[in-house]
Symmetry: C2
Subunit: 646 residues, 2 copies
């Protein structure tokens, strides 16, 4: 399939009011902070031991392995984030440090190519015996992705060679010739192998990725068979009664119609399925991707672009089951959703995927990180009441305050690599066209029909719906431009050098501009008013409620701006939503105010818990801020879905 | 303190339309069914091994212990239920079987009095080393209760002697002289010791019960110290990170102001606190009971009389935290609440406690058992959507269908003993008075001022608010009668032989009748209309919603009588609630119908999950049945708290 290409990060320069603060954090705060954590240089933070594990495996130092079985992946994700960051902002000192770490990784690799400090140090001889829990292939995938990103950023291929060594071992170990029926318990290596194939051209990596996907769901179930072996060693208590749906191994991938199991595993698998569908021109597999996407997005996704409703085991549950105060909605699952959606847009050239990618990036991914870059949410509820987030009880997983670092550190480095690679989401390219997916002020240089062109985008999106593009090229008629028109845009105009275009060539949600394209100022304008959104009434938790959005941004009430007991508020959806941009609020953002009422609790002090007393209302103004910024001020209640005055 | 007395079950005969079906089940179904289970005679039911464990401990048979550490308590609860049942309905064959079992128990007892098959068989030498998890004292308490009940029913004291042997060992082992600082990880022995004291007059049992209570909360925490010992052996994974609040050992009992931790442990402890407060005339302790009661009932109790909001570890959470679809609300916790409330009413002579006891008995305790007596709920949600009760996810603990038997079989035998002892809840006696707490058709014989009197109560409560009492005695002016006037009764009349009493002597919610009492027909009448009830608006989950009640009965919507998606219904609280009694419905009960509307889901099929579309309503009739009967027909959604048209 003729897939749209990602433009190398080196060619993209982002200068955007909304995003810069976060992207800047990656370079200035998160990368050095995570480096310190990987090296156990910070006090009061859970021990990582990650670099130490590599030093022990490399026999530079003596000691025991410490950490979880997938501890290595922290380093891999850090490396990938650094690579993305170096592509946009070269930094020799940082690059030197990476080269040293890659040296260490090479030393930690076993002679036959195997690379995993947990098994090398702690369980030598046990490699690949517990694919259900072992995460060796998961870690391998992340290192492959890091190797490719670092190669793109610096042209250095040492890590590529290391990972080729491991990939070759994986291809041998899990080959058909070797009678292997195995596949990873946590999908990710499929993505890594595909990227390694793209950069090396080695078809065996592509084939291995496809094989891993195709084996999934074969009967008898691989993981259940593995557990029966006499020397099987359980790693996690919670997997004693393993549910094969958890790892999407309950059915062959082409027969899966609903998004099931662990949401991150699912999202990574769907992304790999899209890669393989495109590579093999496999329309059946692409249809499977579309079916899964539609189920996820039309029936199992929060308005904030998050997935995985279950507070236990980070899982999908059932259609329309979207509890707001007990969901998991892992930050990493939204990242996986964005990765999947981006691939689907590349393949189908349909903008609808970006309506979801944009929601995930603007809401859940950003909510995952504090505005100072030092604390993180794994769990992204849509309603929080700090008092009932009590250890060792039902809401333990919901945190009213971002956490500085976790024992299982998947989300922070995943957010870092996503922010550092944001450029990859903004534009796509094909031979004769550029596609604009997101409205983020930036400059991109690329080739169109062999001609170098430069595109500059300036916008105050998401606060404003005016997007100004400047194109520069020697050849004024060099190619085409496709601009995504989001689903929330009901009306828009396009001007070229001040002249309104009457024609509206529309391709699956992209506006097509195919004449007089270069050395122009192209302006896309659409109204960006706050709006009231409702959920399908089958979403039991949201029936009778509304959310306030502006573009892709979801807004929420916080206790700090309102009174406590947020669920007692009712919003008047016939009244105006008043937006005010405030430079001093949370580094500059909008507040939305609207009229409503609240059920009075005063007078209840002397009543028993249940009485026949009728509710009394008081008029109230409701104040909302963007969801990604919640929890950056005073700890308190938060609420997205507000009762509607009906 | 001058406590009101419980009238022996032998003196009470219940003949009540509402309750007979359940009480009959105990004798006809539950007792034989549970006996078969205890003896592993049923197929397709989780193995109990309970009797087998006793046979092994008694060295009648060889084998290994099987089951949980508190498996013995199943037999104790069965015995107590049988004893209560025999008191009301003698049955020689059943009594013979009990005598055989008591023989077996005696043989299973160790020479020094110790009785626990888990430790005797599986961990000899480890007794009392793990009070946090070991449950030896818990099982002991239940056997003591059973011994006392069987003695009251039959006059036979063999089990009393067995349990005195164990109680004496406990008093030695946990004495101050022995420098013991220990107390049970699951409260219950305090109740058992107190009952054993009542029947034997041995003050050391009373003192030991008090000592156990007073030690709780001492620093350093006993359980945490116990865990530090080198030979400590953890029994339950989930207690690896033990939270002392779980077992109410975070503070001395007199300093506890809020209901915390495991709800059943809490309820049993509060009951024992009330026993000890009365026995020692300890007003400080009684105040502590009142404080805990008020916190529980005014801030942490469901309208169905259930407690313990957390779906994890069956715990209390925080004030006003009462989720409806993810709560635990264990049946046993409502039983514990009823036990506590009954004691508080006995001590304080205040009817308010019975407003709660009645709610717990009529709603949650009955909901715990199917109308055929063969399946049970542990968890009692107020809102159920079967589709999202998925194994290994957040709502796993919520069951849309009652379960036939559980590995941990605490609730079924607990329901059985509660139903079999219902008589103990109906009446209290003191030297010169009878107190009527519940309106259940029955006959009671007792002494008043040394004079034998008989009282007969006839009523169709809770369907009707007319209660007719017939009194018979030789002496017409023998004493007083106190009749509870429930909090939901706004207006009532009392007639004696057809003449309305103008005087209304009211004592803490009891109407006092102190003249011309005997050989009369006394009629209490009050309107029993369905009513709309609302929760304190601080209950976030219920704000803007209503429940429908009639007397103590909570009503609920079931999918079988309505359309699916119950949360989309809105109730018109200005319209009439139409009640209709139907002989053929669920063995005879009322249905309540009322007007309302529902947000239409039709038309959403082609919409995405979130749109700006306004809700469309359709007029609908809502149909409700009593909460205790839910889940006895077709499996489907259930809902107590319904949105109100505001």
């Amino acid at each position: 399939m003729n897939k749209l290409a990602i433009i190398p990060l080196k060619k993209i320069e982002i200068r955007d009011d909304f995003w810069d603060r976060y992207i800047g954090l990656v370079r200035k705060v998160i990368i050095p902070y995570q480096w310190d954590i990987l090296n156990d240089r910070l006090e009061g933070i859970e021990t990582s031991h990650c670099i130490q594990n590599f030093k022990i495996a490399a026999q530079r130092e003596k000691g025991e392995f410490y950490g979880v079985v997938f501890q290595d992946s922290d380093l891999a994700k850090w490396l990938e984030a650094v690579a993305f960051s170096l592509a946009a902002s070269p930094d020799q000192e940082l690059e030197d440090r990476v080269d040293e770490v890659i040296e260490l990784i090479g030393e930690a690799q076993e002679e036959d190519g195997y690379l995993n400090t947990y098994f090398s140090i702690k369980e030598p001889g046990k490699r690949f015996q517990n694919l259900m829990e072992g995460h060796e292939l998961y870690c391998a995938g992340h290192f492959m992705e890091a190797a490719v990103a670092y190669y793109h950023a610096t042209g250095k291929d040492k890590l590529i060679h290391i990972m080729k060594g491991f990939a070759d071992l994986i291809c041998r170990e899990f080959s058909a010739e070797n009678n292997s029926k195995g596949y990873p318990g946590h999908q990710e290596v499929e993505i890594g192998l595909y990227k390694l194939y793209e950069v090396t051209g080695e078809v065996r990596y592509l084939e291995q990725a496809k094989m891993f996907l195709d084996r999934r769901g074969e009967k008898p179930n691989y993981f259940l068979e593995e557990k029966k072996k006499p020397d099987f060693k359980q790693i996690f208590d919670e997997f004693k009664n393993y549910d094969i749906t958890y790892s999407q191994s309950h059915l062959p991938i082409r027969e899966q119609k609903t998004a099931e199991g662990h949401a991150v595993r699912a999202g990574y698998m769907y992304s790999a399925m899209a890669d393989i569908a495109a590579a093999y021109d496999d329309t059946e597999l692409l249809e499977a991707c579309e079916t899964l996407w539609n189920n996820m997005v039309d029936k199992r996704m929060y308005i904030t672009g998050s997935v995985g409703s279950s507070g236990i085991l980070e899982r999908f549950t059932t259609d329309y089951d979207l509890p707001n105060n007990s969901n998991y909605s892992e930050t990493c699952a939204s990242i996986a959703l964005a990765l999947f959606g981006r691939r689907m847009a590349q393949i189908t050239k349909n903008a609808k995927y970006y309506d979801v990618v944009e929601k995930a990036l603007y809401n859940t991914v950003l909510a995952g990180i504090a505005m100072d870059g030092r604390s993180f949410f794994y769990v992204n509820p849509l309603e929080v009441w700090p008092d009932n987030c009590i250890p060792r009880t039902s809401k333990e997983h919901v945190k009213p305050v971002r956490q500085s670092w976790f024992g299982v550190a998947c989300c922070p480095p995943n957010i870092a690599r996503t922010l550092a690679s944001l450029g990859e989401y903004i534009y796509f390219a094909e031979k004769d066209a550029i596609w604009i997916n997101l409205f983020i002020s930036s400059k991109v240089k690329t080739l169109m029909n062999g001609q170098e062109i430069e595109l500059e985008m300036n916008t105050k999106f998401p606060y404003d719906g005016k997007i100004v593009l400047h194109t520069r090229s020697k050849d004024p008629a060099v190619g085409k431009l496709y601009i995504r028109i989001p689903e929330y845009v009901k009306d828009y105009s396009i001007e070229v050098d001040g002249i309104v275009r009457e024609d509206k060539l529309f391709n699956n949600g992209y506006y097509e501009l195919n004449t007089e394209l270069m050395n122009k100022t192209i302006t896309l304008s659409f109204p960006m008013e706050p709006r009231i959104v409702r959920a399908n009434p089958l979403v039991k938790e949201d029936v009778g409620k509304v959310a306030v959005m502006k573009g892709p941004l979801v807004f929420c009430m916080e206790e700090v701006d309102n009174e406590s007991n947020l669920p007692a508020y009712f919003l008047d959806t016939n009244a105006e939503l008043k937006e005010q941009y405030d430079e001093s609020l949370l580094g500059g953002t909008s507040m939305i105010r609207c009229k409503g009422k609240k059920i009075r609790s005063r007078g209840w002090e002397t009543e028993s818990l249940y009485t026949e007393k009728r509710p009394e209302f008081e008029e109230k103004e409701l104040t909302l801020i963007p969801y990604p910024y919640w929890g950056n001020r005073k700890t308190g209640e938060m609420l997205v879905w507000i009762k509607e005055i009906l």
